[in-house]
Subunit: 504 residues, 2 copies
């Protein structure tokens, strides 16, 4: 589905920045909490896979266990990446030395450039001139750098490159993020891990003095490891080029974007953050619409949408229509999801008589087979969790499916035992049944029928029962707000994707 | 603030149902997973505090360790609550016997009444007649019963009455829920625990054949343990009375409601759930508006709004205006919160020159003091987390405050150590500092200035650093969508509360 022009990708300077073999770091010492650079170096070390790390430090002989050098000019090799986390005023000097050494790629974390006013603008101009003189490209300044979960792949397992100051890495996957905020690039990692949002690459671009969103879109367009793109935007510098590229990319690799500007105080906030001049919300809405970009103002939406689209690419489930089937053991969530589905423009059609009869054979008298199906209290959870979705998939009466009824039976067993009750073997075996009876079969069924099945339950993601689905990349939702919201987004995107493909 | 008419409360039959001393249970055995009644009995046992539990069973001598009786007529005492979880057809007979025994209060979990059609309606009429004949009141049928976190208070610690089939209980607090869905009453408990939504009482009312939402509103109106009310509604039977009561209650005890009807398929879903005839969304919107009820279609909103209002009652922080101050160490969330605040109708005013100068003394050159304050990278987190909010509270320039910058340093320390680094004493002591330096002082400050301070960070609620805030009932938010959403809700409610009080 995705064009793979691997030769042009391999020659790309962004590919080099994401996969350095020899890296030198300015601004790290042994005081982990006190200096940002120290934390960032620690993260690079924690990523494993590196062989050559060269701290540059005016006084220390060793930094975090690595031999340090007084100047980059003293190094025995030419690093393929320089990483600078120093006070703003010394950045031009250090860059000059990097140029002399023959280093072509840099990441500049240091802030204090155009976002602080006239002094900073002067410094920005200086680093532009130096970069031009030595033919250097850099990410930043005023950024957290890069995360590459594919670092070392396929030779090395579980290695990554992480220059962010938060230690927890994202999990390797088909999502790539470009962000004008370090927090959205990096600190979302706790949630991407919990929710199973598999982010393979994440770039904090800062002030975009040398490499901007458009450069990165160009890179991700041809990157075979990228199938979904997330953007956090405060300003798009090259609007026309951005729209042209996004239009080419979005029908194949969906793009989700947050635009943080557009209101008065937000504009002021952005000016002091990255120095960007943000524009009217309506302009960006129009840009997103024209480019086929899915947009939101919510960080939760952003993460959920990315996950849904990532799974849509993996299972190739892009709904062909608006009809949802809802299977639940609980009337309240069933009614609420039905309502929100309709408010989002989806349909919850009553099933045919034939289909209702088929379900009714397995339902108690108090149950309901119309749509939503309400199984009420049930003993055999496999009926509800796998048999019913399979019947629905084969029926041709729905385009997507939601199943509500995943619980935490570990906890139930704990309470039974701690209050003096007895847990029988059947209960203990349920956990294994979930893998064999639900998770594995539904993966095959989704790949066969290309119909999304979204499981949900009232338990938090941290529950081992949720993590079973997460680790298998089967769609699972805690609570019942997001299944309909994500299906609405996916259905709308699928319509766009289909329309654009047909018109070609 | 709350009228306490404790005599009328004590005499109430709802008070009796929530605080039974002697309870008999129909429909429980030793097969915990196979019968709903068995799980519900287990929950009652797990709640502690009970002395007399009488299982009624036609064959067993003991049920879950308690001596069982063949008929309620054989019991040596008159129970003050009968709890019935039996097949529908035998419910009238058992009710008849309860009446003969002199039992006045019942909970009927059994489904299969009006929600299944004409047979069920006939059975509904039968139980109405029996209840009338013996002057009995009951919750249900087709419900999960009740949770009372105040059961045993103040004599007993940590006891509760829980008839729900999910084991995890809510945490005792000032929120009471009335729900026409068992799931919303019961299975939200995982989230109420994680998020710190302290639900003291929760009633699953089912088909409301005898006791309805209006009865419960009447009870909660005068209940000193209730300061916030949550409703899940599929139908309001006594509309006029409901509006009258809600109007009286809402300026003192805020009410949050979900109405699940209002669309075509939702109406069908509701009919098969509780047998209710739901009405147009616009009618309910008008009812909620007239009654001062805060409404939403989202279960997450519902839980967050309840928590925010509960804390508003505890600290008496009801914002006097729309001006928010935002303190952050991260430009992205700062910009996003500023934007959503403005979209929700709040204001993020630029601080006065004097105030900006005061903040600037503690900010690095790369920071910003306008609003949002961006402290960027900082070593002394107490400045940002407590000194700045205090300055803002005293300034008179804002009505509420958001602070973004709570992280999980436990995990940071883990990663440092596991990658061969050294964790120093300063890092280890940060955890205690959070209690002494932030959580305890902010509680005092919020009580003194009556200005809400909402903390937030990118880490999940399960983190011990989040749970520090939760266990102290200090507002804390994971991610940055809900701080502005909840402040917008609270500000709007406060305006209503103020307006109604003035007009009296």
């Amino acid at each position: 589905m995705i064009e793979n022009d691997s030769k042009s990708v391999k020659n790309n300077y962004i590919e080099q920045i994401l996969n350095p073999k020899k890296i030198c770091v300015f601004g790290a010492n042994d005081n982990l909490l006190g200096t940002m650079g120290s934390m960032q170096l620690r993260n690079i070390i924690a990523g494993g896979g590196f062989e050559e790390i060269y701290p540059i430090h005016p006084r220390l002989e060793y930094v975090q266990g690595f031999k340090a050098y007084k100047s980059v000019l003293d190094l025995p090799v030419i690093p393929d990446l320089a990483f600078i986390i120093l006070p703003t005023r010394v950045v031009p000097t250090v860059m000059e030395e990097c140029g002399q050494k023959g280093i072509k790629n840099l990441i500049i974390t240091s802030g204090g450039f155009r976002e602080v006013g006239s002094d900073g603008i002067e410094l920005s101009n200086q680093i532009d001139i130096i970069a031009k003189q030595y033919n250097m490209r850099f990410i930043g300044p005023n950024c957290l750098g890069v995360f590459n979960g594919w670092y070392g792949y396929p030779e090395k397992e579980n290695t990554f490159l992480n220059t962010f100051w938060i230690y927890l890495p994202h999990k390797r996957g088909n999502i790539s993020i470009v962000s004008q905020s370090g927090t959205i690039a990096a600190q979302t990692a706790w949630y991407t891990n919990d929710l199973g949002v598999n982010v393979g690459k994440s770039i904090s671009v800062g002030n975009e003095r040398s490499i901007d969103i458009v450069d990165l879109l160009e890179y991700f367009k041809n990157d075979p490891q990228t199938e979904v793109i997330g953007l956090y935007i405060e300003e798009v510098k090259r609007g026309k080029k951005f729209i042209k590229l996004a239009k080419e990319i979005s029908p194949k690799k969906p793009i989700v974007a947050i635009y943080a500007g557009g209101t008065n105080a937000a504009a002021r906030s952005i000016m002091s953050h990255t120095g960007s001049i943000s524009g009217d919300d309506k302009i960006y809405e129009a840009i997103f619409k024209e480019s086929g970009i899915i947009s939101t103002n919510s960080i939760s939406d952003f993460l959920y949408y990315l996950r849904t689209l990532s799974q849509a690419q993996t299972y190739n489930f892009f709904p062909k229509g608006k009809r949802i089937g809802i299977i639940t053991d609980s009337g309240g969530p069933g009614a609420m999801m039905t309502k929100t589905a309709e408010l989002y423009g989806l349909e919850v059609p009553e099933f045919s008589k034939r289909l209702q009869d088929e379900f009714s054979d397995d339902l108690p008298k108090t149950g309901s087979a119309t749509n939503p199906i309400d199984v009420t209290f049930h003993e055999n959870f496999l009926t509800m969790l796998i048999k019913f979705p399979k019947i629905l998939m084969k029926s041709g009466e729905v385009d997507s499916i939601i199943v509500f009824g995943i619980y935490d039976f570990d906890e139930v067993m704990d309470v039974v035992e701690s209050s003096g009750g007895k847990v029988d073997e059947q209960m203990k075996q349920m956990k294994q049944l979930m893998d064999i009876g639900v998770v594995n079969p539904i993966k095959k069924l989704m790949k066969k029928y290309h119909i999304p099945v979204f499981y949900s339950g009232p338990i938090p993601y941290r529950s081992p029962w949720m993590q079973k689905f997460i680790s298998s990349d089967v769609p699972i939702f805690s609570l019942w707000d997001y299944p309909t919201k994500c299906l609405a987004m996916l259905t709308k995107y699928s319509e766009y994707r289909q329309k654009v493909s047909y018109s070609k």
